[in-house]
Symmetry: C2
Subunit: 260 residues, 2 copies
Amino acid sequence: MKELTPKEFREMVKQKKWDKPTSGIAPGYTQANLVILPKEDAFDFLLFCQRNPKPCPLLEVTDVGDPILKTIASHADIRTDLPKYRIYQNGRFIKEVTDIVDIWRDDFVAFLIGCSFTFENALIKHGISIRHIEEQRNVPMYKTNIPCVPAGRFHGNMVVSMRPMTPKDAIKSVQITSRFPAVHGAPVHIGRPEDIGIYNLDKPDFGDPVTIKEGEVPVFWACGVTPQAVAIESNCKFMITHAPGHMFVSDLKDEFFAIL
Amino acid sequence: MKELTPKEFREMVKQKKWDKPTSGIAPGYTQANLVILPKEDAFDFLLFCQRNPKPCPLLEVTDVGDPILKTIASHADIRTDLPKYRIYQNGRFIKEVTDIVDIWRDDFVAFLIGCSFTFENALIKHGISIRHIEEQRNVPMYKTNIPCVPAGRFHGNMVVSMRPMTPKDAIKSVQITSRFPAVHGAPVHIGRPEDIGIYNLDKPDFGDPVTIKEGEVPVFWACGVTPQAVAIESNCKFMITHAPGHMFVSDLKDEFFAIL
């Protein structure tokens, strides 16, 4: 699987030969979170992302009703090329499906949102070990008391992901992730979790807990789960997202998103 | 005038005591281009800016119908706090006015767009001399053959600004402006103007020509005039912009927009 190009992988998915998570697929290529909304909610959601670029870094937004991507992947079909989708109605989870061909409407707009996999690859290349990858778990994610800037019906607090590391690696991580403003950028917090409303690192709101070793500090990044969580909380009449971990695999190399 | 804070300057403007350009006002504070559109065009325009972040770096987008800014300036009123506005109907320039209180509508959305003044201050601080400032002219701007990514009714080519400098300063400029992705970022082109469809540097499409000395190369940055030019060409039913040079003066220091 690791040998497949993103295009070959998406072709496999389209043919229903893969419905598992995308972690480890096409290493070095950027993966993206997905939110699909009807046009009536799309302006406010686009505005929400514009106002909150750290948790909601937009990689591509499709034309109204057009399911074909143009920027981060060539000729990819957003209705078939992700392994698994989730359907929400009135803010409630309805079901998971492996394509949305029959559900797609002429007024749908798809938002592809950056994901921390991209900067994790850069950290690893610089010799920084990522605990949840070492421990083969999902990254721990937490709801915070940091309010996002609201936009129309969309409002809520930021969700962050956490990676424990030595202070030395934390400093290096700030430098490395500052190069990637399009995929969350620099951390939003280092150290005391209670400062941002997190009271138990062992009980993440999403993902899995990880070991924090003596002398390590928790480093927190704005997380791409934020816009999904906010959209769910806002009780949109209709919304489609990727199923957790079942991301869109783009044609762009992670380094494409580095500004330096 | 140079002594006034941005807030004091905007108060003067509101009281109709200043209707001249804002160049040199409140040095060190970011100034912004303005585009106001009705809601019906706002989604496509927001999408256009999202797809073309280099020429269209959004600093703030107001809530529909709300003329008060919340992010880049505190309690500023977009209807009164710029020295001069331009009204367009069906893509044609109608008139200049010094406030838009009587014209404001409940469906208007204001877009504040970054401007190269911000990174010019950073260049000057690093000892790079800016020719058009030396020669007390407006920066030369050119239409190019570089297509923007279209969005709905909005499409057109990128407008660039040009600053001649030594190759050594050009390299330093790339480093310095890369720190400012929110205000045009790194140059889009260095050297041969014909590569991007510019055939006579002495005849800019906007602004004034400047001297290019022996051994200097032209360095081109995406220009904030692009979204205005594109919006005008797209024949929007109704649009308001700032009058050229009569920008919005924000409360944020230029350094706020540096990511490093």
